[in-house]
Amino acid sequence: MAAGAAIATIYALTPLTVCVVAAAAVVLPLFWAGLSPGDRRWLIIIVCAAIIARVLIVGGIFLRNIQVHDDQFVGAASGDEAYAMSRALRTRDIVRGWPTAKYDYFIAYDEYGRSSFIAALTALQLIFGPTPYSLRLLNALLYMCGALLLFRVAYRAFRRVTAFGGLLVVLFWPSLFAWSISLLKEPLYFLCGAVAVTCAVTIGADRRWRVRAVCVAATLVALATMRDMRPAALVLAVGGLATGVVLFIVTASKRTALVAVTAAIGAVVMLSLVPPLQRRVVAGVEAAAKVQMGHVFTVGHAYKLLDAGFYVKPVTPAASSLKLRADEAARFVVRGLLSFILVPLPWQVQSARELVYLPEQLAWYALVVLLPLGAWVALGRGRLAACMLMGYAAPTAVVLALTNGNVGTLLRLRGLVIPFVAWLSAAGLDALMERSKRLVDERGRVFGRVNLFDATLVAFAIALVPIAYGTYLLFRTPALRIESVQRVPITREERRVAGGSTLTAKLKVRGTGLRPMLRAMIDDAPALGFVFEDPHSADVLVGEVPAGAHDLILFDGVQEVARARRAVTIQSEPSPQMLALGVFSRLDEGTARSISATRVSSSLEIVKVGPQRPDANGRWLREAEMRVQCEPDAAGEGCVVGGVLLNAPRPPTLQLVLPSGQVVSFTVNELLPNTPAQFVTARVRLASAPEPLTLVRVGDRDDVLDERAATVVAVGSRRMTDVDVTIRAGLDQSRDGRVYRGRAFKAGAPFRLSTDRYVLEGVVLEVDERRQDDSK
């Protein structure tokens, strides 16, 4: 009765743990049934060590969170765990009729993330309440069952050393260990895969039809469970089993192997000779490359498989219009397959977490090195099991290799493959030790001193890890650092390249580790361009940015790689306004007629229009005066509007959108300051041949729309080659004194009077210094 009360109390506190313990007590002993006493003892030691380690870690997580526990849920170590658990608990609240919000329904019934694991998780939370820790134990049990299933396969097929070696790897491989006690779907997914492989091997090896039928049923259940746990999970699993069967057939004899190799060569030749086939294959590679590009443009440590130029613009896979040539596709595939094995190379490590992962990466390299020998040996010892393990891992490995672009994701998903190839690598180690008998004495010692197995472990710990860290320090990509940001003049070429966009400033960035494919942001605003010069220098072209001090941020894809705080200062003082005199050209008659004084945009306003006139091509012209708001121009080049420098020697043309929606061209012939003109009268002597001089009359007006236009107010004495006239003109103040239409206006200065009837040159004789405020 006391035992019953104790169990009840524990069950009330953590019901799922009691169920997990009961299940483990029933299931685990099945895996050491039938083993020799010695092997059984070792298996129990390994399993007990694995259980104790996992229970201690889960207990540690519990103790760490003990201050923040409530009646809901804590204990998620990652965002995915928190999502899965909170979704299950929201569903539980809805089903139990407890108070909920609209958002709970949204999450609970969301298509995103829906899978059989979420369904099972929800059912467990519903029945047992919030179970963040006992669920970790359940996941650990599922994972260990998967590992022990494969252990039994390896034990029967590859001998005991290989089986125990593989089991040690699968149970204590650091990232797999972390997986096995997570709240994620990975343990269940691995168990389903292990069931499928075990059943496939059993079907092939066991002649009893009852056993085969049970295995078929178990495989179907496993496939049904895993079908929605990952994209294309069913395809990968069935493809893996099919690959295993094909490998089994191919490796049946030398003749079948020869036929398979010949067929493979034939397929490659056909692929290179038949364009439609090549296009289909390249299309498939393009689809994978789009997904890979999507991974590259996620936050984290990305790696690239396509040629560098494909990664300039961040784009989602759905929006990507990526097209590859056959050679580009081939390079992508080769890089992808290599990256699956090599990434991250020790010198590519970027974060402390990756640095901690480095020993596991070296161990992974060791697994890969041992794999070919292990596969060869395993084929000799248990061909069916070896083929099924290789076959099951192959499609997953290929898909991961070609679609991944993020180091963290690759490391996590590589864990889908390691539990299957570990047994083959262990077979390689076993074979290596067996073949090294010549080097070792009867007690397994090298040079009569150190046991080979111990020497390998010590060499790994003492030699390889420091070497790896050394290569990391030596070959790592230099950290990108901005040392200075300096504002420099904008060149005409850059104005032109800006292509109509507002170019506010140009920054010279100096630092280390600069790369060509970076993007620059000024706080939240993307820069118009990042122009790489060398690893220590680059230019950043700044577009429209509000006034104030801003951070300059450099991105590699979507990953922030450097930031210079408050390095970009945009002045808040208003930029000058000017009057642009010019002509609307190439108009149709209706448009020409419709142009009137109006505001066209925030920076452009038509203030005066002249009469419409036909041009030589049957189109229409209309002169106009526009008030323009110049863009900030730190370089002091003049007035820039929409990226067009209006002071250019060649008449610049602005493209405007009228209020009617029509796009028209306005050629700027002359710029005047947008300040009140000072009107003066002056005596001017115009010189020319006698005939044009006779055309001069009172009231003649210089051919400019602005009110500054010089007007003849009196005609004085006429001579053969000159005439003295009195004019009234609007002058502007400049650094060099008063100017009329940009030219100096004082006694002795040249003067030009141009009307629609004549053009005359002359000289200013006298300027009346009395100011005339009346502009009329």
């Binding site: 019953g4 069950y11 009330a12 407890w98 029945i127």
Partner: protein, 98 residues
């Protein structure tokens, strides 16, 4: 040969043997073993009855304890009680399977 003579393996083997000897000389473990031995020495029906009695006590105690806990942090008590009962019944059937 190499594995059998490995120092690391010998270390693990020695540690596991020490743990085994600790467990074998532990009085608590010895008491538990004696109790288990006495229990399994009982007739099968008696063993089964004991299991069932313990199950009933466990289910009733569980219902009492669970009702004292906040509903949002506990299981669905009837369903969880049924599961606990099922585990107990499975244990009660064990003597007959053996």
């Amino acid at each position: 040969m190499i594995i059998e003579n490995s120092g690391v393996i010998a270390l693990v083997d020695g540690a596991s043997r020490r743990v085994e000897s600790v467990l074998e000389t532990s009085r608590a473990v010895a008491a538990a073993r004696a109790a288990a031995r006495d229990f399994t020495a009982l007739p099968r029906r008696e063993q089964s009855r004991c299991w069932l009695l313990m199950t009933v006590v466990a289910v009733v105690t569980y219902a009492a304890v669970a009702s004292a806990l906040p509903p949002r942090s506990t299981a669905i008590v009837p369903l969880a009680g049924v599961i606990l009962g099922a585990i107990g019944c499975a244990c009660a059937a064990l003597p007959f399977r053996q």
